[in-house]
């Protein structure tokens, strides 16, 4: 069951952090789950380090307009991305950020429900910062309950090269542990 139908996600970070891949995997998992899906992306001229975003819509009905108009969820794993997209989030939405690389402004109070989790740190502990995106994917799916863990894992394994399967499976599990219900909202 989707928390909202359709459910609109915006996944943001710096170019090279694998946000588009996360969007594609989530869309594929959504499809396995039986949803209609649309995944779009927006990126600057620079291949790396510019703010990049990927968007996913999951719906039980055909999707007329494929871009996210009012996000229900935002993932930001870089400060640039949070600065750019955080302020655009509706009040009744959920935001997940990296607890170390994204600093929430002290002066601001956020109406949204914000989770700050050690996403990149967890990936580093697994020995490869590059799987931060998959850690984030595991965490957000556990927080939101969008698709079954089995479908998510299947979608991840379809998209990663054979030699990185184990690493990515571990990253997904570690992410899911971060996103368990005990995770506390900070905002």
């Amino acid at each position: 069951m989707l928390p909202q139908d359709p459910y609109q996600l915006r996944l943001s970070g710096s170019g090279g952090q694998g946000l588009i891949t996360v969007g594609v995997i989530l869309a594929e998992a959504g499809l396995l789950e039986g949803y209609r899906v649309a995944q779009t992306q927006s990126y600057g001229p620079e291949a790396r380090l510019g703010a990049s975003r990927s968007e996913v819509i999951l719906s039980s009905r055909p999707i007329a307009y494929p871009e996210v108009s009012e996000p229900d969820f935002l993932l930001s794993i870089s400060q640039d991305a949070f600065d750019k997209y955080g302020s655009q989030m509706p009040e009744k939405s959920l935001i997940l950020v990296d607890d170390f690389y994204v600093t929430l402004s002290r002066s601001e109070s956020y109406p949204q429900q914000i989770y700050a989790l050690p996403i990149i740190h967890t990936a580093e502990e697994l020995g490869n910062k590059l799987v931060s995106n998959v850690v984030a994917l595991g965490a957000l799916n556990r927080l939101l309950g969008l698709v079954s863990e089995a479908h998510l894992k299947e979608a991840v394994l379809r998209r990663v090269p054979a030699k990185y399967r184990e690493l990515n499976a571990s990253a997904l599990e570690a992410g899911a542990r971060l996103g368990r219900p005990q995770a506390k909202a900070v905002g």
């Binding site: 594609v24 869309a27 594929e28 499809l31 209609r36 899906v37 649309a38 995944q39 779009t40 992306q41 927006s42 990126y43 600057g44 001229p45 999707i63 007329a64 307009y65 494929p66 871009e67 108009s69």
Partner: protein, 388 residues
């Protein structure tokens, strides 16, 4: 049961080309069309077909024209800057009646512009980019499955009418991933050029059939004005040749009109849209319906030759009071719509050129505004009625 698959627009385009039997692809990478080239680079050699990365877009269009004359079904894909470079070749393909498919995934221009930002501003260039009166067919698509189908259709039209066919995509559609039913072999019609009754009887131009170079008859393929045998033509003969060439395409306008009409009987507003903007229009129709304002949508997949008759038919009966043309440019298709509907119904424009899509809300708002205070109050009355 058929399974749905997650497919990207550019992937659908490349796979549509393969499905249609493209056996020669030449191109040069450019955002946002690069994935088409990448997929072709991987798939064509695997399937025993020819892929060449050329040194630039001038060479790419030249290569696909040459390969077409060697008998291949050919295709290239590019974006604005590359499409500009291809214009001379497109004119050559038009006058030499060469079947070939050119995909232009539009990005913000002119010049280098904003490579990763979307646009629909190559519409007039697709029709008139090369010099001289010339026949050309321009198609577009609004979704991923649609992109697959229209790529196949582009090949079919090229083969049937011996003309370069341009398929206009855009950055968002090229990179959009959606779940689609993958067309099975045989599900979509694939047309191949017909051989002449005999090589001796074959007239290389202005007639029927296609014989490749080396197919048993010697003839001249030239960009000079020419007669049916390829010899240089002048004056009245050149004029007659050009008129016949144009008539072959324009005379078939309704045969090649691809579109979808979603117009309720009680619609007073008609949105005429094409390409990715259709998606916002379709959603806008839903938003307006929820507010009690009935709008219809005419989606055009064939842009040139422009299906004027179809548009006239859509407003027949006098129910339609106004037309809106949303597009990602400063007004291109709307010129054609205004010309055709002049004096019948007011036509309004909605253009966006900051590199992002027109949103459903923008279209809904434009229509509410266009419909004026009477429609606004009617809408409010209906809304009040619905909530009371």
């Amino acid at each position: 049961m058929k399974k749905r698959r997650l497919v990207q627009g550019n992937e659908a385009c490349a796979q549509g080309g393969l499905y249609a039997g493209c056996d020669f692809y030449a191109g040069y990478p450019i955002t946002p069309a690069t994935e088409i080239l990448e997929i072709m680079a991987r798939e064509m050699p695997r399937q025993g077909r020819v892929f060449i990365q050329m040194e630039d877009e001038i060479a790419s269009i030249s290569a696909i024209i040459g390969a077409a004359w060697a008998g291949a079904k050919t295709m290239t894909a590019t974006s604005g800057p590359g499409f500009s470079l291809m214009q001379e070749g497109i004119g050559y393909a038009a006058i030499t009646e060469t079947p070939c498919v050119i995909v232009d995934s539009q990005r913000w221009g002119p010049s280098t512009g904003q490579p990763t930002k979307t646009s629909q501003a190559d519409l007039m260039q697709a029709r008139w980019g090369t010099h001289g009166d010339h026949p050309v067919i321009v198609l577009t698509a609004s979704g991923v499955r649609d992109t697959f189908e229209m790529t196949v259709e582009a090949f079919n039209f090229a083969e049937r009418y011996r003309v370069p066919v341009i398929l206009l995509l855009d950055e968002v559609l090229s990179h959009l991933r959606e779940d689609i039913y993958w067309p099975e072999p045989g599900e979509l019609e694939v047309i191949d050029r017909e051989p002449p009754s005999s090589p001796e009887a074959f007239a290389p131009f202005g007639g029927h059939g296609f014989l490749p170079l080396g197919g048993g008859k010697r003839f001249n393929v030239t960009g000079m004005a020419h007669d049916k045998q390829g010899f240089v033509a002048r004056g009245a003969q050149a004029a007659a040749g050009l008129r016949a060439l144009m008539e072959r395409i324009e005379g078939q306008t309704m045969t090649m009109a691809r579109y979808s009409e979603e117009i309720p009987d009680d619609a007073e507003t008609l949105i005429v849209a094409y390409g990715i903007t259709v998606r916002a229009a379709r959603r806008a129709v839903q938003l307006l319906a929820a507010e009690g304002l009935v709008a219809g949508l005419l989606e055009l997949r064939t842009l040139w030759p422009f299906p004027a008759e179809l548009l006239r038919g859509a407003i027949q009966g006098g129910q339609i009071k106004r037309v809106l043309v949303p597009e990602l440019n400063l007004g291109q298709l709307v010129l054609e719509v205004e010309r055709i509907l002049a004096g019948q119904v007011p036509v309004a424009r909605l253009g966006r050129v900051d590199g992002y899509l027109i949103t459903p809300e923008q279209i809904a708002e434009a229509i509410t505004e266009q419909a004026g205070p009477s429609a606004e109050s009617k809408r409010q009355r209906r809304a009040a009625h619905a909530t009371s």
